[in-house]
């Protein structure tokens, strides 16, 4: 019996007519798919190592390389899919937990695609955002239920610190460590240029990113990496990370080989040591413990910054979010089961958590029922692919969205799901200097800026079509959503009507 039963996922084909043996592919592939045989003076490819990232094909000057998914070689079986069989082979060979990167790729329903948006016809005019104001400006943070005025008409109510977004889209938590320094810098600079926020994840705040700290949300996660009072006070807001949509209930592990001198300084840990984030915070074993941490951070920052909590969308999400708000969170970030990750156990990523659409609908409804919706803003994450997804989320009740994967794709990611290997050929999810320098920060910043700008324009177009010129009139306005392909129960949980109703 052969030791290896796994077949390649991809087939790399080289057109000999076109290939000029320039070896670009050899140099570009960190997975060592391509090899130049000096004796034969010819490049050969080993398909087994290919992850399908398209780096070689993208850079091949003669378009000689094509990459195809290996066609189904197993007997058709609806239950035992090729992926399931391959996973068993891998585990039988290696005896470990299956690891993966990026968000859940399984074919579960995407509810955004089952919700359709409204537009004005005749009885109210649609608005042209090129000619008339169309306001996306969004404030995130706790707001009072009402304003009070003195006898002389002066405003008496003080409003707490708010994050101010020109586009209701922010960059999700991605740590320096899980992504390269260049990628981190590009995210920070793009957030700064557009007027939104990027999130450090638990990678600490790099010295060179501090100039953009006014547009950074810093994370306090279970490993507490990089956290000190300066870190908290440098940022625009602080996010306590309880969970992540791709791996609810699971911690994190940055292997020691990635902990370079620079990362060691940023995370405040010794060089070369594994950076392990425990599954729970070891000082949070209950909601009252969370409240203590929220207020400890508020004290440390003198109540000048919003302090929020990020949680993964799990079964009792409405009750959990309500608890976080009552514990003092100024914003709650909810990460759905399609949320991305640098590394997660495949079983967890593909099977734990619930869709962000339902989590958002349930949380917004619950906070309103309890009369505490104004006490915290809602940020949602977990696979926002386009401007329409963002509009639908805001209409369901979100204040803003976090994007992670979309931002990485803008920088060149091809979703090969191998972030955890540290061999990202696009220079994004790697610390290898040979690879990271491929990501030009100026170009990456511009691509991210372009992405947010184009989404902003699209959101404005959609709102204009609805006849709405301020985003607060879209937020939670479920009348502008209609369902297709949804059961009564699904419509009920989403709190929307069926198309045609």
């Amino acid at each position: 019996m052969p030791e290896w039963l796994t077949q390649p996922d991809f087939l790399v084909e080289r057109d000999p007519e076109r290939c000029i043996q320039c070896e670009v592919c050899v140099r570009q592939c960190a997975n060592e798919v391509h090899e130049f045989d000096a004796e034969l003076r010819e490049v050969f490819s080993d398909s087994a190592a290919c992850v399908g990232c398209h780096r070689c094909a993208s850079l091949c000057p003669t378009d000689a390389i094509s990459i195809r998914e290996v066609e189904l070689e197993f007997r058709t079986n609806a239950n035992w899919s090729p992926q399931v069989i391959r996973n068993i082979y891998r585990q039988a060979e290696q005896g470990g937990v299956l690891l993966t990167g990026m968000g859940n790729p399984e074919g579960l329903p995407i509810y955004w695609d089952r919700m359709l948006l409204n537009a004005s016809q005749v009885t109210n005019p649609s608005i042209d955002p090129l000619r008339e104001p169309m306001e996306l400006f969004t404030q995130l943070g706790k707001k009072p239920a009402r304003l009070e005025f003195a006898e002389d008409g002066a405003l008496q109510t003080q409003i707490g610190p708010q994050l101010e977004l020109k586009v209701p889209v922010m960059f999700s938590a991605m740590s320096y460590g899980s992504i390269s320094y260049n990628a981190s810098e590009a995210l920070a600079r793009a957030a700064h240029e557009v007027g939104t926020y990027a999130n450090t994840g638990e990678g600490g705040l790099h010295e060179h990113i501090k100039p953009y700290a006014d547009n950074m949300i810093v994370q306090v996660a279970s490993g507490r990496f990089g956290v000190d009072v300066d870190y908290l006070n440098a940022a625009a807001a602080i996010e306590i990370k309880i969970g992540q949509g791709a791996k609810p209930g699971i911690g994190g592990h940055l292997p020691g080989e990635k902990v370079s001198a620079d990362i060691s300084a940023t995370r405040m840990i010794p060089e070369g040591t594994d950076a392990i984030s425990p599954a729970p915070h070891h000082d949070i074993y209950s909601i009252e413990d969370l409240r203590q941490l929220i207020y400890a951070i508020k004290e440390a920052t003198r109540y000048t910054k919003p302090v929020g909590v990020k949680i993964a969308a799990v079964h009792h999400i409405a009750a959990i979010a309500s608890g976080a708000v009552r514990a003092g969170a100024d914003f709650v970030a909810i990460d759905g089961y399609r949320g991305g990750t640098g590394a997660a156990p495949t079983m967890i990523r593909n099977n734990v958590g619930i869709p962000i659409e339902f989590a958002l609908a349930a949380v917004d409804a619950r906070l309103r029922e309890e009369g505490i919706r104004h006490d915290a803003s809602l940020i949602v994450a977990g696979s926002f692919r386009c401007a329409a997804d963002v509009v639908k989320a805001i209409a369901l009740g979100a204040d803003a969205c976090y994007i992670g994967t979309a931002a990485l794709v803008a920088m060149g990611c091809h979703l090969c799901q191998k972030c955890y290997t540290g061999k990202c050929n696009w220079g994004i999810a790697t610390q290898d200097p040979y690879l990271t320098r491929r990501l030009n920060t100026n170009i990456a910043t511009r691509r991210l800026t372009n992405l947010l700008q184009s989404w902003g324009h699209e959101i404005q177009e959609i709102m204009g079509g609805m006849g709405i010129n301020a985003i607060e009139s879209l937020r939670g306005n479920r009348d502008h959503l209609r369902g297709v392909n949804l059961s009564d129960r699904e419509l009920q949980v989403l709190g929307i009507q069926m198309a045609g109703e």
């Binding site: 004005s120 005749v122 009885t123 109210n124 005019p125 608005i127 008339e132 104001p133 306001e135 400006f137 404030q139 707001k143 009072p144 239920a145 009402r146 304003l147 009070e148 005025f149 008409g153 002066a154 405003l155 109510t157 409003i159 708010q162 309103r368 009369g371 919706r373 104004h374 209409a395 609805m466 006849g467 709405i468 010129n469 301020a470 607060e472 009139s473 879209l474 937020r475 939670g476 306005n477 479920r478 009348d479 502008h480």
Partner: protein
């Protein structure tokens, strides 16, 4: 259940609105406002019209005048039992009407002058709160009964038909008020239900509205946070409840309340002075759920006050005029000139800018 009624979910379509207030408090008959609204006949389509009048019940000014419509005698009996259980009913009568060939399918319309004793078990509910609760309870829970209005020294008269015909039907020429507001409907979704006509009213707030509120979905959910649960079935109703919430409950100054509903643009806020900008920012941060988006022009009546305002880009017409002691607000200038041929001043208020008329002294007899 009342919620199954064919009430328009949103009031699609165009409309005519008019409001006339004598700021000296002098009372005048309903014939003038009927002529003004009749002038804009083309802006309505015979599927709804209505009036609200202030100062019409001076002899019972301390009592809540509850105008109620019933589709059946059973609904009337059930409602009356409820009123006698919860309130002190000073006087009850059928609202007098005059046969009109264009008005058909008319329900029973009665008025009850009531007061409610404070509830010792609920010390935080004042009489206004108890009346609102009763109003909403009847609309939601009593089949075939609907409250037109329940304010002091005011009342709403409305139904299906052209407004001028309804004005004649309700004999409004025989009433005297210091403020009259009126509405002619052009709905694109026909329902033919008398309760669905304007004005919509809560306590002494009455609203006539030309437009469509695109933010209705969130305004409704926002109001639910504050207990306006049961009867939020139309977008016009939402405006009435927002006035009640912002002014009666949150005690906001009138200009602030209007600014919450039609706030300045961020670009304009940036150009404001520091204090004004801070106030505008605070309003937008806190009252985003009260922002009324979409095309509208409204005239709002309340005790001693008439307010006109439009959406913040003024997508529906609104013109104002002053003639002597009277303030006029209407969809069209022609309507004003029908009853005030030579006004002292005519002006077009800016988008979102409230026009407020208040009684200078008090109510005076003609």
């Amino acid at each position: 259940m009342a919620t199954n009624r064919l009430l328009p979910f949103k009031d699609y379509g165009g409309c005519s609105i008019v409001g006339v207030m004598d700021q000296s408090g002098r009372l005048f008959g309903g014939d003038a406002v009927i002529r003004a609204i009749a002038n804009m006949h083309e802006r309505s389509n015979g599927l709804g019209g209505g009036f609200a009048a202030y100062g019409i019940y001076p002899a019972r000014a301390d009592q809540y005048a509850m105008h109620l419509m019933f589709d059946t005698a059973a609904a009337k009996a059930e409602t009356e039992a409820l009123l006698h259980e919860r309130c002190f009913v000073h006087h009850a009568e059928e609202i007098p009407t005059r046969h009109h060939p264009n008005i058909t399918g008319e329900p029973l319309v009665h008025r009850y002058f009531i007061n409610i004793e404070p509830d010792a078990d609920r010390p935080f509910m004042d009489e206004d709160d108890l009346v609102v609760e009763l109003h909403m309870h009847i609309n939601a829970a009593v089949q075939d009964a609907f409250v037109f209005s329940a304010g002091k020294n005011m009342g709403c008269f409305k139904g299906v038909g052209y407004p001028e015909d309804l004005g004649a039907y309700f004999r409004l020429d025989e009433y005297e008020a210091y403020t009259w507001i009126a509405h002619g409907r052009f709905p694109t979704n026909t329902t033919g239900w008398w309760g669905g006509a304007h004005p919509f009213s809560i306590l002494d707030w009455a609203i006539v509205h030309n437009g469509e509120i695109s933010s209705y979905g969130i305004n409704k959910r926002y109001l639910r946070n504050f207990g306006y649960e049961r009867t939020l079935q139309t977008d016009t109703e939402v405006i009435a409840y927002l006035f009640d919430l912002l002014i009666r409950k949150h005690e906001l100054p009138l200009e602030v309340a209007c600014r919450a509903m039609a706030p300045p643009f961020w670009a304009d806020i940036e150009r404001m002075g520091e204090d004004e900008a801070a106030q505008a920012r605070a309003i937008r941060a806190v009252y985003g759920g009260a922002l009324l988006n979409g095309p509208f022009a409204v005239v709002v009546g309340s005790t001693g006050r008439m307010i006109g305002f439009s959406d913040r880009t003024k997508l529906r017409p609104q013109v104002c005029a002053r003639g002597g002691e009277r303030l006029y607000i209407a969809s069209e200038e022609a309507a004003i000139r029908t009853i005030c041929p030579d006004p002292d001043i005519v002006w077009h208020p800016d988008a979102g800018e409230p026009v407020v008329g208040e009684l200078n002294v008090g109510v005076r007899a003609r």
